[in-house]
Amino acid sequence: MTDRSNARVGLLSADQAPLLMRDVYAGGDPGPIAAALATVPELAAVTLPFIGGVLGPSALDVRTKELVILRTSVVASCRYCVDAHTVVALDVGLTADEVHRLRGRGGDGSTPFDARDVALLAWVDEVAGGRGEVPDAIFDAFAVHFVDHEIVELTLLASTTLLLNRFCTALRLPTSTDTADRLRQEGMS
């Protein structure tokens, strides 16, 4: 269950799911992003597969993808996405310490991340939080660890996450009750 009362737009329930969205609702509550997009079904019909394609399983390993998604969401200060992907990150194997660091909490100056992760996160910080050109030094350090198709995908992933960050934040999409409970259990509320 999700408290939908604070959202800035109506989040369609299953009994109000438009015809083009019925498959999306067939498995139960599709979550606030889909429930908001459902109000414009013809756009949801193209947006949801796009989001699923970029954020879902692909040539990149899931841990790397969650590093990008969670870090981008932190940089963009998206409460909904940080909450949701904190849980996902833990579920795909990131340690609690790694998640804390990604969320900008804790740390004693050391880092749990290796050089590849550090270069990736520096790239993500610039893509998500920077303005104008991304400095060559950041790219060069990043490109040491990734080939072109990975660079393209990681950059698309950060960019798409940023799109979702602004969408969820602007519309005040609510964190689900299940996610909030899990965050409390993990001490990450």
């Binding site: 009994d15 109000q16 799911a17 438009p18 015809l19 083009l20 414009v40 079904p41 013809e42 756009l43």
Partner: protein, 287 residues
């Protein structure tokens, strides 16, 4: 009235025209001209009344829909509401639509003075039908659902409309009617100049205010013909789709918010129809 470029209806060979010609897709496109109404009927699907938002589709938009519908291969148009007669320039708009495709207009027929009926002359000259609601041969039964003096106004208006050359149909919405009442109603509409072929009877649909009516029938996608319906809020599966409950528009039969170009919702509708399992076409055939 403006002169419209008239599409060559019936010769379209695109997928929508082919589906219409094959009977897989109904040929009529409906437009909700507006949602407000001078009445507030007990079973109204759209909770219409004088006080609701008008949510109008403009005359220019309705004319565009007519042309695009014909180009896509649809074969007929319908205008409903609310009370379409309250929409600005509805006479000219419908006349222009009827220059493109045959058009039926749904009305409660309570606003027709002699002067207003004379203004409908362009409809008499074109393929326009006026579908008027009359629910019972008994004034008290009819008026309990449709409002005080409704029966008297309707039975007064219909012969004047017929005399003016307007093709009038009568739609009866009822939860049940015994054979004797049905026969009296048919005798009444014949006496008003409306033939049996122009009288349809349909159930109360449990949507909008109709959810409160005992004896109404549930109607979802499977029960309703896939008649593309354009409103100010988007395009729907059926004219029974854009219903309102407690002031909130139902979206369960919404197809797309995009209505221009009409091809967008029309192709989405055809995709839904083509994706429907065999035997899942409309079972109630409510019109």
């Amino acid at each position: 009235m403006t002169t419209l470029q008239t599409a060559d209806a019936g010769t379209t060979t695109g997928p929508i025209g082919e589906a219409v010609a094959a009977g897989r897709l109904p040929g009529r496109v409906w437009v909700y001209s507006n949602y407000h109404c001078n009445l507030a009927c007990t079973y109204c699907l759209t909770e219409s009344s004088p006080d609701v938002d008008r949510r109008s589709v403009s005359g220019a938009q309705m004319r565009r829909i007519a042309v695009e519908a014909a180009e896509l291969g649809f074969t007929a148009l319908g205008v409903t509401g609310g009370e379409p007669i309250l929409a600005p320039d509805i006479v000219g708009t419908v006349a222009d639509m009827a220059d493109v495709l045959p058009t039926v207009v749904l009305s409660n027929a309570t606003l027709f003075t002699d002067v207003q009926i004379r203004r409908l002359a362009p409809w008499a000259e074109r393929d326009v039908s006026l579908q008027v609601s009359l629910d019972s041969p008994d004034p008290d039964v009819n008026d309990a659902a449709r409002g005080e003096d409704n029966f008297a106004k309707v039975v007064d208006a219909i012969p004047r409309l017929v005399d003016a050359g307007i093709h009038v149909r009568i739609a009866t919405t009822s939860t049940s009617m015994d054979p004797a009442d049905s026969e009296r109603l048919c005798a009444l509409h014949r006496s008003l100049g409306v033939s049996d072929d122009d009288h349809i009877v349909r159930p109360v649909i449990r949507r909008g205010r109709g959810v409160e009516v005992d004896g109404g029938v549930d109607a979802g996608q499977r029960d309703l013909p896939a008649e593309l319906t354009v409103t100010a809020d988007g395009a729907f599966w059926s004219p029974f789709g854009p219903t309102v409950r407690d002031g909130i528009l139902d979206t369960d039969l919404l197809i797309t918010r995009t209505t221009s170009p009409l091809r967008t919702p029309a192709e989405a509708l055809l995709g839904l129809v083509n994706g429907r399992p065999a035997g899942e076409d409309a079972v109630l055939n409510i019109r």
